[in-house]
Protein backbone atom coordinates (compact mmCIF):
# COMPACT_ATOMS: atom_id res chain seq x y z
CA UNK A 1 0.00 0.00 0.00
CA UNK A 2 1.07 3.52 -0.71
CA UNK A 3 1.32 5.31 2.65
CA UNK A 4 0.24 8.63 1.15
CA UNK A 5 -2.58 7.16 -0.85
CA UNK A 6 -5.26 9.67 -1.71
CA UNK A 7 -7.56 6.92 -2.81
CA UNK A 8 -7.53 3.27 -1.91
CA UNK A 9 -9.92 0.49 -2.80
CA UNK A 10 -9.66 -2.90 -1.16
CA UNK A 11 -11.44 -6.02 -2.35
CA UNK A 12 -14.41 -4.06 -3.68
CA UNK A 13 -17.45 -6.00 -4.78
CA UNK A 14 -20.63 -4.57 -6.19
CA UNK A 15 -23.63 -5.89 -8.07
CA UNK A 16 -26.81 -4.20 -9.15
CA UNK A 17 -30.15 -5.27 -7.80
CA UNK A 18 -31.60 -8.32 -9.55
CA UNK A 19 -28.45 -8.72 -11.66
CA UNK A 20 -27.01 -12.20 -11.88
CA UNK A 21 -23.35 -11.29 -11.88
CA UNK A 22 -21.21 -8.93 -9.88
CA UNK A 23 -19.98 -5.89 -11.78
CA UNK A 24 -16.96 -5.57 -9.50
CA UNK A 25 -15.55 -8.62 -7.84
CA UNK A 26 -12.66 -8.18 -5.43
CA UNK A 27 -11.15 -5.12 -7.08
CA UNK A 28 -8.18 -3.47 -5.34
CA UNK A 29 -5.92 -0.56 -6.22
CA UNK A 30 -4.63 2.66 -4.76
CA UNK A 31 -3.32 5.95 -6.05
CA UNK A 32 -1.28 8.76 -4.60
CA UNK A 33 -1.29 12.48 -5.28
CA UNK A 34 -0.05 14.13 -8.44
CA UNK A 35 -0.73 11.66 -11.20
CA UNK A 36 -3.25 10.79 -13.85
CA UNK A 37 -4.47 7.23 -13.71
CA UNK A 38 -6.49 5.89 -16.62
CA UNK A 39 -9.31 3.45 -16.16
CA UNK A 40 -9.77 1.41 -19.29
CA UNK A 41 -12.25 -1.32 -20.07
CA UNK A 42 -14.91 -2.49 -22.47
CA UNK A 43 -18.49 -1.27 -22.19
CA UNK A 44 -20.03 -2.77 -19.09
CA UNK A 45 -16.66 -3.60 -17.56
CA UNK A 46 -17.57 -1.57 -14.46
CA UNK A 47 -15.72 1.71 -14.97
CA UNK A 48 -18.70 3.93 -14.24
CA UNK A 49 -19.80 1.74 -11.36
CA UNK A 50 -16.34 1.94 -9.84
CA UNK A 51 -16.24 5.73 -10.18
CA UNK A 52 -19.68 6.00 -8.59
CA UNK A 53 -18.55 3.84 -5.70
CA UNK A 54 -15.44 5.98 -5.25
CA UNK A 55 -17.59 9.12 -5.39
CA UNK A 56 -19.67 7.77 -2.53
CA UNK A 57 -22.84 7.52 -4.58
CA UNK A 58 -23.00 3.76 -4.32
CA UNK A 59 -22.14 1.56 -1.42
CA UNK A 60 -20.06 -1.56 -2.09
CA UNK A 61 -21.48 -4.95 -1.20
CA UNK A 62 -18.17 -5.76 0.40
CA UNK A 63 -14.73 -4.27 0.58
CA UNK A 64 -13.48 -0.92 1.68
CA UNK A 65 -12.80 2.48 0.16
CA UNK A 66 -10.46 5.04 1.70
CA UNK A 67 -10.26 8.65 0.58
CA UNK A 68 -7.63 10.92 2.07
CA UNK A 69 -6.73 8.21 4.58
CA UNK A 70 -10.27 7.92 5.92
CA UNK A 71 -12.69 5.12 5.26
CA UNK A 72 -15.58 6.10 3.04
CA UNK A 73 -18.08 4.77 5.49
CA UNK A 74 -21.39 3.24 4.74
CA UNK A 75 -24.38 5.56 4.36
CA UNK A 76 -22.31 8.36 2.89
CA UNK A 77 -21.31 9.74 6.26
CA UNK A 78 -18.12 11.22 4.82
CA UNK A 79 -20.01 13.77 2.78
CA UNK A 80 -17.79 16.60 4.07
CA UNK A 81 -14.85 15.17 2.14
CA UNK A 82 -16.79 15.64 -1.08
CA UNK A 83 -15.47 19.22 -1.00
CA UNK A 84 -12.02 17.80 -1.72
CA UNK A 85 -13.28 15.75 -4.64
CA UNK A 86 -14.22 16.80 -8.15
CA UNK A 87 -16.46 14.15 -9.62
CA UNK A 88 -17.87 13.85 -13.09
CA UNK A 89 -19.73 10.59 -12.83
CA UNK A 90 -23.01 11.70 -14.30
CA UNK A 91 -24.02 14.57 -16.51
CA UNK A 92 -27.61 15.35 -15.62
CA UNK A 93 -28.72 18.92 -15.14
CA UNK A 94 -30.45 20.47 -12.19
CA UNK A 95 -31.48 24.11 -11.71
CA UNK A 96 -32.21 24.45 -15.39
CA UNK A 97 -33.31 28.04 -15.20
CA UNK A 98 -29.83 29.29 -14.28
CA UNK A 99 -27.15 30.66 -16.54
CA UNK A 100 -23.78 28.94 -16.83
CA UNK A 101 -21.95 31.29 -14.45
CA UNK A 102 -24.78 31.24 -11.89
CA UNK A 103 -25.04 27.47 -12.04
CA UNK A 104 -21.33 26.97 -11.48
CA UNK A 105 -21.26 29.59 -8.74
CA UNK A 106 -24.12 27.84 -6.95
CA UNK A 107 -22.19 24.58 -6.96
CA UNK A 108 -19.01 26.29 -5.81
CA UNK A 109 -20.81 28.05 -2.96
CA UNK A 110 -22.52 24.86 -1.86
CA UNK A 111 -19.14 23.13 -1.97
CA UNK A 112 -17.84 25.69 0.51
CA UNK A 113 -14.96 26.67 -1.77
CA UNK A 114 -13.25 30.04 -1.21
CA UNK A 115 -15.22 32.45 -3.39
CA UNK A 116 -12.50 34.63 -4.87
CA UNK A 117 -10.11 31.81 -5.77
CA UNK A 118 -12.91 29.74 -7.13
CA UNK A 119 -14.26 32.60 -9.25
CA UNK A 120 -10.82 33.15 -10.73
CA UNK A 121 -10.39 29.50 -11.62
CA UNK A 122 -13.91 29.35 -13.00
CA UNK A 123 -13.35 32.36 -15.25
CA UNK A 124 -10.11 30.84 -16.52
CA UNK A 125 -11.70 27.46 -17.19
CA UNK A 126 -14.71 29.00 -18.94
CA UNK A 127 -12.34 30.94 -21.18
CA UNK A 128 -10.19 27.93 -21.94
CA UNK A 129 -13.19 25.78 -22.79
CA UNK A 130 -14.85 28.59 -24.71
CA UNK A 131 -18.06 28.34 -22.70
CA UNK A 132 -20.36 31.36 -22.60
CA UNK A 133 -21.04 32.24 -18.93
CA UNK A 134 -24.29 33.98 -19.88
CA UNK A 135 -25.83 31.01 -21.71
CA UNK A 136 -28.73 29.25 -20.03
CA UNK A 137 -27.73 25.76 -18.96
CA UNK A 138 -30.99 24.32 -20.29
CA UNK A 139 -30.05 25.14 -23.89
CA UNK A 140 -26.47 23.86 -23.88
CA UNK A 141 -25.47 21.28 -26.47
CA UNK A 142 -24.17 17.89 -25.35
CA UNK A 143 -20.59 19.02 -25.82
CA UNK A 144 -21.06 22.26 -23.92
CA UNK A 145 -22.93 20.41 -21.19
CA UNK A 146 -19.93 18.17 -20.79
CA UNK A 147 -17.66 21.21 -20.59
CA UNK A 148 -19.97 22.65 -17.94
CA UNK A 149 -19.56 19.53 -15.84
CA UNK A 150 -15.81 19.50 -16.38
CA UNK A 151 -15.62 23.08 -15.09
CA UNK A 152 -17.91 22.18 -12.19
CA UNK A 153 -15.63 19.32 -11.21
CA UNK A 154 -12.46 21.42 -11.49
CA UNK A 155 -13.44 24.90 -10.29
CA UNK A 156 -12.85 24.31 -6.58
CA UNK A 157 -9.30 22.94 -7.07
CA UNK A 158 -10.07 19.43 -5.80
CA UNK A 159 -7.40 17.10 -4.46
CA UNK A 160 -9.01 14.11 -6.09
CA UNK A 161 -10.65 14.07 -9.51
CA UNK A 162 -12.93 11.24 -10.56
CA UNK A 163 -13.88 11.61 -14.21
CA UNK A 164 -16.03 9.25 -16.20
CA UNK A 165 -15.49 9.59 -19.95
CA UNK A 166 -15.06 13.34 -19.69
CA UNK A 167 -14.18 13.91 -23.35
CA UNK A 168 -16.78 11.72 -25.03
CA UNK A 169 -18.74 14.70 -26.42
CA UNK A 170 -15.92 17.23 -26.80
CA UNK A 171 -14.53 18.54 -30.07
CA UNK A 172 -10.82 17.95 -30.83
CA UNK A 173 -9.71 21.43 -29.69
CA UNK A 174 -11.59 21.10 -26.42
CA UNK A 175 -10.11 17.64 -25.91
CA UNK A 176 -6.62 19.01 -26.25
CA UNK A 177 -7.46 21.77 -23.81
CA UNK A 178 -9.01 19.27 -21.42
CA UNK A 179 -5.89 17.12 -21.29
CA UNK A 180 -3.73 20.18 -20.90
CA UNK A 181 -5.85 21.30 -17.93
CA UNK A 182 -5.75 17.82 -16.47
CA UNK A 183 -1.95 17.67 -16.67
CA UNK A 184 -1.81 21.01 -14.87
CA UNK A 185 -4.08 19.60 -12.18
CA UNK A 186 -1.80 16.60 -11.76
CA UNK A 187 1.23 18.90 -11.60
CA UNK A 188 -0.56 20.88 -8.91
CA UNK A 189 -0.76 17.67 -6.89
CA UNK A 190 -4.25 16.43 -7.66
CA UNK A 191 -4.82 12.72 -7.98
CA UNK A 192 -6.78 12.10 -11.16
CA UNK A 193 -8.67 8.94 -12.05
CA UNK A 194 -10.15 9.15 -15.51
CA UNK A 195 -12.01 6.59 -17.57
CA UNK A 196 -12.06 6.80 -21.33
CA UNK A 197 -12.20 4.77 -24.52
CA UNK A 198 -9.85 7.19 -26.26
CA UNK A 199 -6.68 5.18 -25.72
CA UNK A 200 -4.49 7.43 -27.82
CA UNK A 201 -5.46 10.45 -25.74
CA UNK A 202 -4.82 8.56 -22.54
CA UNK A 203 -1.48 7.37 -23.84
CA UNK A 204 -0.19 10.89 -24.16
CA UNK A 205 -1.15 12.03 -20.69
CA UNK A 206 -1.52 9.33 -18.10
CA UNK A 207 1.12 8.14 -15.69
CA UNK A 208 -0.56 4.82 -15.08
CA UNK A 209 -3.30 2.77 -16.66
CA UNK A 210 -5.60 0.15 -15.20
CA UNK A 211 -7.45 -2.35 -17.36
CA UNK A 212 -10.74 -3.38 -15.86
CA UNK A 213 -11.97 -6.80 -16.85
CA UNK A 214 -14.01 -9.46 -15.11
CA UNK A 215 -14.78 -7.11 -12.24
CA UNK A 216 -11.18 -6.52 -11.25
CA UNK A 217 -7.95 -4.93 -12.42
CA UNK A 218 -6.79 -7.37 -15.09
CA UNK A 219 -3.68 -5.45 -16.19
CA UNK A 220 -1.80 -2.50 -14.88
CA UNK A 221 0.70 -0.31 -16.59
CA UNK A 222 2.83 2.37 -14.98
CA UNK A 223 4.57 4.82 -17.28
CA UNK A 224 6.62 4.14 -20.41
CA UNK A 225 9.28 2.19 -18.59
CA UNK A 226 7.07 -0.77 -17.86
CA UNK A 227 5.85 -1.17 -21.41
CA UNK A 228 6.91 -3.78 -23.91
CA UNK A 229 8.80 -2.40 -26.88
CA UNK A 230 8.17 -2.92 -30.54
CA UNK A 231 10.78 -3.12 -33.24
CA UNK A 232 9.74 -2.71 -36.85
CA UNK A 233 12.33 -4.11 -39.24
CA UNK A 234 12.30 -3.85 -43.04
CA UNK A 235 12.96 -7.54 -43.68
CA UNK A 236 11.09 -10.86 -43.76
CA UNK A 237 10.49 -12.65 -40.49
CA UNK A 238 13.08 -15.39 -41.20
CA UNK A 239 15.85 -12.90 -41.89
CA UNK A 240 15.10 -11.02 -38.70
CA UNK A 241 15.06 -14.35 -36.84
CA UNK A 242 18.52 -15.27 -38.14
CA UNK A 243 19.91 -11.92 -37.08
CA UNK A 244 18.49 -12.00 -33.61
CA UNK A 245 19.12 -15.67 -32.84
CA UNK A 246 18.43 -16.43 -29.18
CA UNK A 247 16.84 -13.07 -28.60
CA UNK A 248 14.17 -13.71 -31.13
CA UNK A 249 10.69 -14.41 -29.85
CA UNK A 250 8.72 -15.70 -32.80
CA UNK A 251 5.48 -15.81 -30.82
CA UNK A 252 5.64 -12.05 -30.35
CA UNK A 253 6.40 -11.26 -33.99
CA UNK A 254 4.53 -11.09 -37.23
CA UNK A 255 5.20 -9.99 -40.78
CA UNK A 256 2.78 -7.58 -42.31
CA UNK A 257 1.57 -7.19 -45.90
CA UNK A 258 3.87 -4.16 -46.13
CA UNK A 259 6.90 -6.45 -45.89
CA UNK A 260 7.82 -5.19 -42.46
CA UNK A 261 8.31 -7.47 -39.48
CA UNK A 262 7.06 -6.33 -36.14
CA UNK A 263 8.25 -7.87 -32.91
CA UNK A 264 7.32 -6.97 -29.36
CA UNK A 265 9.79 -7.25 -26.52
CA UNK A 266 9.13 -7.41 -22.82
CA UNK A 267 10.41 -4.46 -20.88
CA UNK A 268 13.03 -6.55 -19.04
CA UNK A 269 14.81 -7.55 -22.29
CA UNK A 270 17.59 -5.04 -23.09
CA UNK A 271 16.80 -3.12 -26.25
CA UNK A 272 20.30 -2.13 -27.30
CA UNK A 273 21.48 -5.68 -28.19
CA UNK A 274 18.38 -6.12 -30.37
CA UNK A 275 19.13 -2.94 -32.25
CA UNK A 276 22.85 -3.77 -32.49
CA UNK A 277 22.24 -7.24 -33.98
CA UNK A 278 19.79 -5.93 -36.55
CA UNK A 279 22.17 -3.18 -37.62
CA UNK A 280 25.04 -5.68 -37.72
CA UNK A 281 23.01 -7.91 -40.07
CA UNK A 282 22.31 -4.95 -42.31
CA UNK A 283 18.59 -4.99 -41.62
CA UNK A 284 17.06 -1.53 -41.71
CA UNK A 285 15.14 -0.71 -38.56
CA UNK A 286 12.16 1.43 -39.37
CA UNK A 287 11.01 2.03 -35.84
CA UNK A 288 11.74 1.07 -32.26
CA UNK A 289 9.39 2.38 -29.59
CA UNK A 290 7.30 1.44 -26.59
CA UNK A 291 3.96 -0.07 -27.46
CA UNK A 292 0.98 2.24 -27.50
CA UNK A 293 -1.86 1.53 -25.10
CA UNK A 294 -4.17 0.72 -27.99
CA UNK A 295 -1.62 -1.81 -29.35
CA UNK A 296 -1.23 -3.47 -25.99
CA UNK A 297 -4.82 -3.58 -24.81
CA UNK A 298 -6.79 -3.02 -27.99
CA UNK A 299 -7.51 -6.72 -28.42
CA UNK A 300 -8.54 -7.09 -24.79
CA UNK A 301 -11.14 -4.38 -25.21
Amino acid sequence: MNGAAVLKAEELSFGYRNAERLVLDGLSFDMGPGGIVALVGANGAGKTTLLRLLSGLFEPRSGRIERFGKALRAKRADFADNARVGALVAAPLCWRSLRVAEWLEAFADLSGAPRAACAERRADLLRRFDLDPRARVSVLSAGNLQKLHVVRALQHAPELLLLDEPTSALDPASRREFWSVLREEADRGSAVLVSSHQLDELDRSVSRALLLKGGRIARELAGDSARPWRVVAAAPEEEVARALGALWNRAAAHSGADGLTRADWPDDVPRNPVLAKLVEAGIPVAEMRPLALSEMWGDLL
Binding site: Y16, R17, R52, S55, G56, L57, F58, E59, K75, R76, F79, A80, D81, N82, A83, V85, A87, V89, A90, P92, L93, C94, W95, R96, S97, L98, A106, F107, D109, L110, S111, G112
Partner: protein, 220 residues
Amino acid sequence: MKRLVLLEWREISRDLRSWLVALLPVFLFSFARTLAPADQGSAAAFHELVDFGLAALALEVALAIDCVAWQRDRGELELLLLLPLSPARILGAKLAAILVPTFLLEAVQLLWALLLRSALADSVPSASAGDVVRAAAFLFAATLAAAVWSARIALSGRTLRNASAKLLVWTIFLIGVAKSALLLFPDRFWAIVAVLLAFSAAGFRSLLGCWNRPERWLVR
Protein backbone atom coordinates in the same frame (compact mmCIF):
# COMPACT_ATOMS: atom_id res chain seq x y z
CA MET B 1 -29.08 25.67 3.22
CA LYS B 2 -31.02 28.85 2.36
CA ARG B 3 -29.24 28.99 -1.00
CA LEU B 4 -30.20 25.41 -1.76
CA VAL B 5 -33.83 25.98 -0.73
CA LEU B 6 -34.03 29.03 -2.99
CA LEU B 7 -32.48 27.18 -5.92
CA GLU B 8 -34.90 24.31 -5.50
CA TRP B 9 -37.85 26.64 -5.08
CA ARG B 10 -36.87 28.47 -8.24
CA GLU B 11 -37.02 25.19 -10.12
CA ILE B 12 -40.35 24.09 -8.70
CA SER B 13 -41.99 27.47 -9.17
CA ARG B 14 -41.07 27.41 -12.84
CA ASP B 15 -43.47 24.57 -13.32
CA LEU B 16 -46.67 26.36 -14.29
CA ARG B 17 -48.72 23.31 -13.44
CA SER B 18 -47.94 23.92 -9.77
CA TRP B 19 -49.58 27.33 -9.87
CA LEU B 20 -52.58 26.18 -11.88
CA VAL B 21 -53.33 23.31 -9.57
CA ALA B 22 -52.68 25.38 -6.47
CA LEU B 23 -55.14 28.06 -7.58
CA LEU B 24 -57.78 25.64 -8.78
CA PRO B 25 -59.07 24.76 -5.28
CA VAL B 26 -59.48 28.45 -4.47
CA PHE B 27 -61.85 28.84 -7.40
CA LEU B 28 -63.56 25.56 -6.58
CA PHE B 29 -64.06 26.73 -3.04
CA SER B 30 -65.49 30.04 -4.18
CA PHE B 31 -67.91 28.28 -6.51
CA ALA B 32 -68.99 25.68 -3.93
CA ARG B 33 -69.38 28.21 -1.17
CA THR B 34 -71.61 30.36 -3.31
CA LEU B 35 -73.98 27.43 -3.79
CA ALA B 36 -73.87 26.15 -0.21
CA PRO B 37 -76.32 27.38 2.47
CA ALA B 38 -74.77 29.97 4.74
CA ASP B 39 -76.42 29.02 8.01
CA GLN B 40 -73.58 26.99 9.51
CA GLY B 41 -72.14 27.10 12.97
CA SER B 42 -68.58 27.22 14.16
CA ALA B 43 -67.85 23.45 14.02
CA ALA B 44 -69.23 23.21 10.51
CA ALA B 45 -67.11 26.17 9.52
CA PHE B 46 -64.04 24.40 10.84
CA HIS B 47 -64.77 21.27 8.79
CA GLU B 48 -65.50 23.37 5.77
CA LEU B 49 -62.10 25.01 6.02
CA VAL B 50 -60.37 21.68 6.49
CA ASP B 51 -62.24 19.94 3.68
CA PHE B 52 -61.44 22.51 1.08
CA GLY B 53 -57.91 22.86 2.35
CA LEU B 54 -57.37 19.11 2.19
CA ALA B 55 -58.64 18.85 -1.35
CA ALA B 56 -56.18 21.53 -2.30
CA LEU B 57 -53.22 20.05 -0.53
CA ALA B 58 -53.84 16.56 -1.92
CA LEU B 59 -53.31 17.99 -5.35
CA GLU B 60 -50.49 20.28 -4.37
CA VAL B 61 -48.49 17.66 -2.53
CA ALA B 62 -48.89 15.14 -5.32
CA LEU B 63 -47.77 17.68 -7.86
CA ALA B 64 -44.83 18.99 -5.89
CA ILE B 65 -43.54 15.52 -5.14
CA ASP B 66 -43.99 14.69 -8.79
CA CYS B 67 -41.22 17.24 -9.35
CA VAL B 68 -38.94 15.16 -7.14
CA ALA B 69 -39.85 12.03 -9.09
CA TRP B 70 -38.99 13.85 -12.30
CA GLN B 71 -35.69 14.99 -10.86
CA ARG B 72 -34.91 11.46 -9.81
CA ASP B 73 -35.70 10.04 -13.23
CA ARG B 74 -33.57 12.68 -14.93
CA GLY B 75 -30.69 11.87 -12.60
CA GLU B 76 -30.62 15.35 -11.10
CA LEU B 77 -30.63 14.14 -7.52
CA GLU B 78 -27.40 12.27 -8.16
CA LEU B 79 -25.63 15.53 -8.88
CA LEU B 80 -26.65 17.01 -5.55
CA LEU B 81 -25.35 13.98 -3.71
CA LEU B 82 -21.86 14.86 -4.89
CA LEU B 83 -21.99 18.05 -2.84
CA PRO B 84 -20.30 18.14 0.56
CA LEU B 85 -23.65 18.47 2.29
CA SER B 86 -25.33 15.93 4.48
CA PRO B 87 -28.11 14.02 2.76
CA ALA B 88 -30.45 15.28 5.46
CA ARG B 89 -29.71 18.89 4.54
CA ILE B 90 -30.20 18.28 0.83
CA LEU B 91 -33.42 16.46 1.48
CA GLY B 92 -34.54 19.08 3.97
CA ALA B 93 -33.95 21.80 1.40
CA LYS B 94 -36.00 19.93 -1.17
CA LEU B 95 -38.86 19.34 1.22
CA ALA B 96 -38.74 22.94 2.38
CA ALA B 97 -38.83 24.14 -1.21
CA ILE B 98 -41.92 22.02 -1.75
CA LEU B 99 -43.66 22.60 1.55
CA VAL B 100 -43.13 26.29 2.20
CA PRO B 101 -44.98 27.41 -0.93
CA THR B 102 -47.65 24.78 -0.25
CA PHE B 103 -48.18 26.15 3.24
CA LEU B 104 -48.26 29.69 1.90
CA LEU B 105 -50.90 28.71 -0.60
CA GLU B 106 -52.84 26.96 2.15
CA ALA B 107 -52.72 30.16 4.16
CA VAL B 108 -54.02 32.11 1.17
CA GLN B 109 -56.85 29.61 0.80
CA LEU B 110 -57.76 29.81 4.47
CA LEU B 111 -57.83 33.59 4.33
CA TRP B 112 -59.89 33.45 1.18
CA ALA B 113 -62.32 31.05 2.86
CA LEU B 114 -62.66 33.34 5.86
CA LEU B 115 -63.18 36.40 3.71
CA LEU B 116 -65.79 34.64 1.65
CA ARG B 117 -67.55 33.34 4.73
CA SER B 118 -67.77 36.76 6.31
CA ALA B 119 -68.95 38.26 3.04
CA LEU B 120 -71.68 35.66 2.51
CA ALA B 121 -72.79 34.92 6.04
CA ASP B 122 -72.81 38.07 8.04
CA SER B 123 -75.85 36.90 9.99
CA VAL B 124 -74.47 33.51 11.18
CA PRO B 125 -71.63 32.81 13.59
CA SER B 126 -68.39 32.79 11.61
CA ALA B 127 -65.37 30.59 12.29
CA SER B 128 -63.62 31.60 15.47
CA ALA B 129 -59.91 32.30 15.70
CA GLY B 130 -59.56 28.96 17.51
CA ASP B 131 -61.18 27.15 14.59
CA VAL B 132 -58.78 28.74 12.16
CA VAL B 133 -55.77 27.82 14.29
CA ARG B 134 -57.01 24.26 14.61
CA ALA B 135 -57.71 24.02 10.91
CA ALA B 136 -54.27 25.41 10.10
CA ALA B 137 -52.59 22.99 12.53
CA PHE B 138 -54.42 20.03 11.05
CA LEU B 139 -53.61 21.07 7.50
CA PHE B 140 -49.97 21.60 8.45
CA ALA B 141 -49.66 18.15 10.04
CA ALA B 142 -51.51 16.42 7.22
CA THR B 143 -49.48 18.21 4.54
CA LEU B 144 -46.21 17.33 6.22
CA ALA B 145 -47.13 13.67 6.60
CA ALA B 146 -48.42 13.42 3.05
CA ALA B 147 -45.39 15.22 1.60
CA VAL B 148 -42.79 13.19 3.46
CA TRP B 149 -44.36 9.84 2.70
CA SER B 150 -45.11 10.82 -0.86
CA ALA B 151 -41.48 11.80 -1.37
CA ARG B 152 -40.48 8.43 0.04
CA ILE B 153 -42.75 6.68 -2.42
CA ALA B 154 -41.58 8.85 -5.29
CA LEU B 155 -37.97 7.91 -4.61
CA SER B 156 -38.64 4.21 -4.37
CA GLY B 157 -40.92 4.00 -7.40
CA ARG B 158 -39.33 2.06 -10.18
CA THR B 159 -40.64 4.32 -12.89
CA LEU B 160 -41.94 7.84 -12.94
CA ARG B 161 -45.48 6.90 -13.92
CA ASN B 162 -45.57 4.26 -11.23
CA ALA B 163 -44.28 6.67 -8.61
CA SER B 164 -46.66 9.45 -9.57
CA ALA B 165 -49.70 7.21 -9.48
CA LYS B 166 -48.67 5.68 -6.19
CA LEU B 167 -48.02 8.96 -4.50
CA LEU B 168 -51.30 10.50 -5.64
CA VAL B 169 -53.27 7.54 -4.31
CA TRP B 170 -51.22 7.57 -1.14
CA THR B 171 -51.71 11.31 -0.53
CA ILE B 172 -55.48 11.06 -0.97
CA PHE B 173 -55.61 7.93 1.21
CA LEU B 174 -53.59 9.47 4.02
CA ILE B 175 -55.63 12.64 4.02
CA GLY B 176 -58.86 10.62 3.97
CA VAL B 177 -57.72 8.61 6.99
CA ALA B 178 -56.71 11.76 8.85
CA LYS B 179 -60.01 13.47 8.15
CA SER B 180 -61.98 10.34 9.15
CA ALA B 181 -60.07 10.19 12.42
CA LEU B 182 -60.99 13.82 13.02
CA LEU B 183 -64.69 13.12 12.43
CA LEU B 184 -64.68 9.98 14.60
CA PHE B 185 -62.74 11.51 17.47
CA PRO B 186 -63.40 15.25 17.37
CA ASP B 187 -62.39 15.63 21.02
CA ARG B 188 -58.98 14.06 20.30
CA PHE B 189 -57.97 16.74 17.88
CA TRP B 190 -54.48 17.44 19.20
CA ALA B 191 -53.77 13.71 19.64
CA ILE B 192 -54.55 13.20 15.96
CA VAL B 193 -52.28 16.08 15.02
CA ALA B 194 -49.53 14.57 17.20
CA VAL B 195 -49.95 11.20 15.48
CA LEU B 196 -49.66 12.89 12.09
CA LEU B 197 -46.48 14.67 13.18
CA ALA B 198 -45.00 11.43 14.55
CA PHE B 199 -45.93 9.76 11.29
CA SER B 200 -44.08 12.54 9.45
CA ALA B 201 -41.00 11.99 11.59
CA ALA B 202 -41.07 8.26 10.85
CA GLY B 203 -41.53 9.08 7.18
CA PHE B 204 -38.58 11.42 7.22
CA ARG B 205 -36.44 8.75 8.83
CA SER B 206 -37.47 6.24 6.19
CA LEU B 207 -36.92 8.82 3.47
CA LEU B 208 -33.45 9.50 4.79
CA GLY B 209 -32.69 5.78 4.84
CA CYS B 210 -33.77 5.50 1.22
CA TRP B 211 -31.87 8.65 0.29
CA ASN B 212 -28.73 7.33 1.93
CA ARG B 213 -28.71 4.31 -0.37
CA PRO B 214 -28.92 5.94 -3.77
CA GLU B 215 -28.00 2.73 -5.58
CA ARG B 216 -31.46 1.56 -4.55
CA TRP B 217 -33.23 4.34 -6.40
CA LEU B 218 -30.75 5.76 -8.88
CA VAL B 219 -30.34 2.51 -10.71
CA ARG B 220 -33.30 1.35 -12.67
